[in-house]
Chain length 446, copies 2
């Protein structure tokens, strides 16, 4: 089913034109797009131009933003305009946003007036809002049509709409009144009014609302699409289930990266350039270098203790790493639970109590393990120092890791900024202080 | 729109029965389920039993496995059976899997023969396979019906099917021939055959295939549902878009946790018990303690060097943490890119080259930063030692972090096992060796 690059090369090498068109028609546009992306844009256009117009528009939608814009530069203006006219409203608005001013100026006059306005409208919403990913290709019905009339309207509009499985019922002002399922129109008596068949309390989302909130609503209510309304409750677009899936996938990647101190890598890892990867990584690495100066300063502060008891150094990596590891675990649990809505920011006190109990158990278990090594390696006094330190370090590390996401979100930052390396750095510095303070007290060193 | 616990308490406190039923009918089952979950099961049943049967079944489906089974224990057997009969096929099979043997024995005789067999069949597939989440509530059509006849069939079956927006076309042996959209049946000439309207190359997935692969296919092809076939290409079920969303969300959480060394926490963080959290965390923490012994041993090995140059200790945390941090970043990028299919395991060589280039740039930048501190704090010789160490440690750390997910996946393990703490531990031990080896060489110490 998947067209591969070798087969594409064959298609390019020639062969009768009709064969190519038949081949292109048989593949799923997603597969075709994946194969085309492996070619240089000029070559890709050489293949794609042989397909039917509607097919070209479908494939274009699957190419991904970066490749789309590259392909747009080699596509003749008139043909690009025709493709854009055939693309779904949300996809062409996305493409428009990526084009250079020059490209836009070349493209816009070639489009019909309605399309131009629609594109400008959709492209005007900020990134990350529901407006930025919604489409204007929804089916709308007035409330006073009969079921039969409504079906006739939907039948006529079907080819241009993302979905007609659910139509939105709006009054003359475009105020959203409710929604009706195609399946309910089909099973309704022929003379029933749309208003009688529709569901009144349709969930909707504001056009300026966070796109992630929209995706979560689609997931929560298992709907095919979510209507988007403006401040006056007028219907302006819909967000469909497939966009929700993409949004949630992108959000998960974003959080994943943030927890791993990768920032703003707004491209695929496969195609990211070296400078882009460097920029996504250097800021946090540098910041953490300075963060770790505290650990170094802590060690320097206890130089006398260390000089008198060099055996303490053997246990340093184990102890401070354990605090960081326990803290990373806690932060991981919290960041993800906050992101999925499993816990709310207001739950912090309840979570803190449980975290404390878990941390005590973890600290005691690990203290037992390390005590054995301690006796064997440094004698009973050292064993006591390191077990006691381990319990405290694990508890403090866990609580830091748990609280940090809540604190960050309290200050309006993304909880995922509580990255594993950040938690580790803080826990490390704290661990150094705890360890050597206990050592100095118990070993009665200067 | 959201019913809250206070409103529920009011409902419970009494008030005329009819009011409650009207209230229950107006809320979305997902909202109702969220509110009920906050009550004790017996109380929740007290509210739910006043709703209509179909409504009860809908709400049941949204309660989540843990709560469902608790509620099932307080629901009278006859009423539970009636609810189960009304539940979607996949949801009732999931519920069945969670019930105790006793509960199953009580429930099964109260069900109709067809439902019993359907439940046993659906419950028989292994967790994590497409079979385990598919539903048998799909609409199927023979290829030789006319469009009008097909619409009559679908209209009749609509109430019992998850979706009739796409019907699957099967022959007498249930072999999958293709699929047809409701919208195409409506717009087709009345006498057209289903076989003429249907799409032939419908994407399908095997019943034993990984559920994540099924979800990715739904995302890739933007379909409402994916048909599931057995080894003989016979249709056995469908997986719907809302299940795909849940699967991808759960997979992302799983990877997120794994990278943070949280294992097998198969429950919500909000409701997880202390022993459950302890078990999910202790194994890796212990393992990492032993991993960090290598770092300790490394330090012990260089005790003489350290004793002669205690200033070296100041830079130890910065240097080894930097290797771990750079490695964590690389591992994070790879784990997520492998999980989303952005890069494939076979891409490792290409990625390695780019990673090497990025790591050199990162290492040089960080060496410059630390050299300044080094001159100020330990003089030019120390500055040279630590800058050189920094470059090497960052490069080695990055390459370890990048390669580990590939190596693990080569050995059949989940790439996400390359957790941040594991990468950090390995990078730490390597860092200790690099740092003190360079120090010993340059400072000409014993």
């Amino acid at each position: 089913m998947n067209l591969n690059i070798d087969q594409l090369a064959l298609l390019l090498a020639g062969g009768p034109r009709e064969d190519i068109v038949i081949r292109l028609a048989a593949e799923h546009p997603a597969d075709l797009a994946a194969a085309l992306r492996m070619l240089e844009p000029a070559q890709a256009w050489g293949v794609l131009k042989q397909a039917e117009r509607r097919r070209q528009a479908e494939v274009f939608g699957y190419l991904g933003r970066e490749y789309q814009t590259r392909l747009a530069t080699v596509t003749p203006r008139a043909e690009l305009a025709a493709i854009v006219m055939d693309m779904p409203a949300d996809e062409r608005a996305d493409l428009y946003k990526e084009l250079s001013d020059e490209q836009r100026e070349a493209l816009m006059p070639a489009l019909a007036q309605a399309e131009r306005e629609d594109i400008r409208q959709l492209a005007s919403y900020d990134e990350g809002t529901a407006g930025a990913i919604m489409t204007s290709d929804y089916a709308a019905l007035p409330p006073d049509l009969t079921a039969t009339e409504a079906l006739t309207v939907l039948r006529r509009e079907a080819p241009d709409k993302e979905t007609i499985y659910r139509a939105y019922v709006i009054d003359a002002d475009r105020t959203l009144l409710g929604s009706v399922r195609l399946q309910d129109l089909i099973t309704a008596p022929a003379q029933a009014r749309v208003a009688d068949v529709m569901q009144r309390n349709t969930h909707a989302i504001g056009v300026e609302d966070d796109v992630e909130a929209a995706a979560r609503k689609i997931a929560r209510y298992d709907v095919l699409a979510l209507p988007v309304v403006d401040a006056d409750a007028r219907l302006v677009g819909i967000i469909t289930h497939d966009d929700a899936l993409d949004v949630m996938e992108a959000e998960a990647t974003d959080d994943f990266h943030r927890v791993g101190t990768i920032t703003n890598l707004e491209s695929s890892v496969a195609t990211a350039t070296i400078p882009k990867l460097y920029r996504a990584r250097i800021a946090w690495l540098m910041l953490l270098v300075f963060g770790n100066i505290f650990s170094g300063a802590g060690i320097a502060h206890f130089e006398d203790t260390i000089a008198a008891h060099l055996a303490l150094m053997f246990f340093l990596p184990i102890l401070i790493a354990s605090g960081g590891n326990a803290g990373s675990q806690s932060a991981t649990l919290m960041v993800r639970a906050l992101a999925t809505g499993d816990i709310a920011v207001s739950d912090w006190a309840r979570v803190l109590g449980r975290e404390f109990a878990v941390a005590i158990l973890l600290g005691l278990s690990m203290a037992c393990a390390i005590a054995v090594i301690g006796v064997f390696r440094g004698g009973p006094e050292i064993a006591m120092v390191i077990s006691l330190s381990m319990v405290l370090i694990v508890i403090v590390g866990s609580l830091i890791g748990m609280m940090l996401p809540f604190v960050l979100s309290r200050f309006g930052l993304d909880p995922a900024t509580a990255s594993t390396p950040l938690v580790t750095s803080i826990a490390d510095a704290t661990g150094v202080l705890i360890y050597f303070s206990i050592a100095r007290a118990i070993l009665a060193m200067p």
